[in-house]
Amino acid sequence: MPISDAPPIIIADGVIKQFGRFAALRGVNAEFAPGRLYVVLGDNGAGKTTLLRTIAGLAQPTRGTISVLGAKEIKTVCSQIGYMAHPSLLYDEMTGFENLRYFAGLYGIHDDAANFTCREAIISVKLDPDLNRPVGQYSQGMRQRMSLARALLNDPTLLLLDEPFSNVDFHSAQEMATLLGQMRDQGKTLLVVTHQPGLLEPAADEFVWIDSGKIVDRTSKLRAGTQ
């Protein structure tokens, strides 16, 4: 594994996140280099989602600091971050294209440019941009892919994906995994939380193991015996 000289894109220093008395993160110290694909693994409730939300700036660490793309104030670099959450982050009553048009507007992409960007994003996840059906009536797999398309709208340099393959059929999941690999090759940084690390094994640079709110191990190969 080549050691990159570029400064880390994410630096977490003693990050603790508590909800009342429950500690979701118990002191995360980690650096993530740019242009890599990281696969984040761990049991349910280990703190994977909280880690992603903290990096995305949606949750403030109770203690410790986190800096993303060189900024402590994550809001200032938010236009370079793409986030795909477990919920779809889409309006069920609107079609996929309408949804994306709206969110593109939030990033200052309007009119023809928005039409173009949204079509491209939808096509890149292998969906039909002209599909005239509200997202609420999509299958779970389609919704997941549309959700990924939404995260790609602003052409982010850092992508945070929370369970992108859950409920997606095997074939589509493989296609998505290939797409993620391509994005890494374009120089994007990806953090992917998943229960199906096997799909990403060819593309992944590093596997990050989380247990009860701490990073317990980082390996370049998937350990034997996991799924």
């Binding site: 603790i16 508590q18 008395r21 429950f22 500690a23 118990r26 002191g27 403030q60 109770t62 701490k214």
Partner: protein, 227 residues
């Protein structure tokens, strides 16, 4: 600071007893209302103290939003809570005075009504503090504190206009006040201010202790999990 507390407690006790003596025996008896008028010496200072405390709440709310210091938040909480207590005294003694003088417990006179509305505003503030938890609670409370304070002049102005259009019983004590009575009133106010200061101080220390305990508890749960 520690030694200041008993001194203040003694000063308050002495002042309160002296003020009580002055109010019951020292002050001259009002001609038309008789002894009942002596409620005045508890009724009015309570209201003034409450207004002062709400003003402190307003200041502390702004200070918290600007500086984000927990101390400002505790001051805001303390002043609102003690303010509500004092305003409750004012609202309870009012009808007890009104009954023998006007023959009715309550009238929708502008002063009574606007004081009641103000009481409602700050009770809703305390409710919000009760029903929100976590790191964001102080922010929400501060926002409400500011809006509530902005609302107070509107409340008084609108209700004043509303009720003066319709004739209503006139409150005694308005107009010129006997200098001896004014003297007693001021002594009582001083005594109640001391009491308010004392109670606020206690409440403040209590909240500080409570937050320290919570901090320690969360730290403890943090350590337990990492074993």
């Amino acid at each position: 600071m520690k030694r200041g507390f008993p001194i203040l407690a003694i000063v308050t006790a002495v002042l309160l007893s002296f003020a009580l003596y002055e109010a019951l025996i020292g002050a001259p008896t009002e001609r038309s209302m008789g002894d009942v008028q002596r409620i005045f010496y508890y009724h009015v200072p309570s209201a003034w103290t409450a207004f002062l405390l709400f003003f402190v709440n307003f200041g502390a709310s702004i200070a918290y939003l600007v500086k984000r210091r927990p101390a400002a938040d505790i001051v805001a909480l303390t002043s609102a809570e003690v303010g509500v207590v004092f305003l409750t005294v004012n609202l309870v003694t009012g009808p007890i005075w009104a009954r023998p003088v006007w023959g009715i417990w309550w009238t929708w006179d502008w002063r009574l009504t606007s004081t009641l509305v103000m009481w409602l505003i700050y009770v809703s503030y305390l409710l919000l503090r009760r029903f929100s938890s976590g790191g964001q609670a102080p922010l929400l409370a501060a926002a409400l504190g500011i809006l509530g304070a902005l609302c107070v002049p509107f409340v008084y102005f609108s209700i004043w206009f509303f009720r003066t259009q319709h004739p209503s019983p006139v409150i005694g004590g308005g107009g010129s006040l006997d200098p001896r009575m004014a003297h007693v009133l001021l002594i009582n106010w001083a005594a109640f201010l001391c009491l308010a200061w004392l109670v606020c101080w206690t409440r403040y220390q209590l909240e500080v202790a409570k937050r320290q305990v919570e901090e320690a508890q969360s730290l403890e749960s943090l350590l337990e999990g990492s074993r």
